[in-house]
Symmetry: none
Subunit: 129 residues, 4 copies
């Protein structure tokens, strides 16, 4: 399920964190779900166990999962929070995009227009691929 793109410029731990977060907020990993063990996931993805541990620890701080010593990590996120978490993730990305674009002197209309065009082009490309 989880995949790592070793060639990407995005750090491995960031890729993992994003995918797990998405899995949780989308319901694929429901509350109480037992996450794969650090060692197992490390050998499966062929990355360093320390990296997995770091990801789990950060997800724990962000209240997505909880550790039970001796038995593993478990999803903790409640359904009620999920909708808002998804929105928060997107809001963060949008804020980042907006602030950078405004800094370059673009108007809101230009942002909307550019984004719409790119998404249209993308969807038509996806069909033909």
């Amino acid at each position: 399920m989880l995949k790592i793109d070793a060639g990407s410029a995005v750090p491995v731990y960031e890729q993992l964190k994003r995918q797990i977060k998405l899995g949780i907020v989308s319901g694929k990993y429901p509350s109480g779900y037992k996450m794969p063990s650090i060692r197992q996931l490390a050998s499966q993805l062929k990355i360093n166990p320390n990296t997995i541990a770091k990801v789990y620890r950060q997800l724990e701080t962000e209240k997505f999962i909880a550790s039970k010593t001796g038995s593993g990590f478990f999803v903790k996120m409640e359904k009620e929070q999920m909708g808002s978490t998804r929105k928060i993730l997107l809001a963060e990305l949008a804020d980042e995009f907006i602030s950078k674009a405004i800094e370059l002197g673009f108007t809101p209309d230009e942002l909307i227009k550019t984004l719409s065009e790119k998404l249209e082009r993308k969807s038509s490309n996806d069909k033909t691929e």
Copy 2:
């Protein structure tokens, strides 16, 4: 004019590069404009000259400025290029935003909707500030 936030997670050289790019693309630094010397800017911003040199060299490879040994760095970007450069910069930002959001499982409609809402909220905030 130029400001550095030493505490920011964004590297100093990135902060500088963005500000200078914006200055050039917005016309504040017209073609032929002599950039502040490495040493002068370094002492003004209280950062190491090598950091400024790195920024200038990168802006040079990106064709924004040109160096003349012994006399300084000069803005090279022509007015004709500015429009297209502005568009390219925006397109890069939009691509980054889209790819991250799609990766997290969001639909194009959600992107447009979130962006529009944020921009509306922002413009009304700007008025009251």
Copy 3:
């Protein structure tokens, strides 16, 4: 493999860049090949790590290699690109030669003639050396 002539007028980082480019374009360093680490190469060639880092970063912007923080630099150039890259490099050299010669008032015929003579002389020298 890599050698530096400290006494040369050509900057150290230029010497290195050329050799590595040649190694990549000639296939000696295939795509995916892990370049020596900055520190290791620095100690081997007895030059400062920053100089190596500068070379690698420039090769990165020229799309020859890619960095993965924490694990090293890797050759990125695909075989399909190699032929065209080789041609581009030669074209740049030729353009430089032509523009300088024309600027000095030489005719195209003189360029061809001089080049041919030199190459013939060189090949006969190579045989006797």
Copy 4:
């Protein structure tokens, strides 16, 4: 007559030196010709007198001109040397081109072919411009 391209990456003193050398070997500045004074040339070209002085001093070392204290610099090159000097200038450029290209693994045939093609293309462009 003499022109400086301030925007060029080629150092000002190099541009000047080349043009003067060319003027001498082409006969435009015959033996005995009095070169413009340092101050006059500096103000005419709007560059630093030190730069002119440096050029004259180097041309003196290379036996193109000679200084008479109190009266200026004079062309010294004899007609008999001129033909060979022109050839030397071109030979230097050709050697530079060849050595760089060989270093990149190109064959003599490729050099000749690329150069010929570029010169043909150039001459047809010149006609239509």
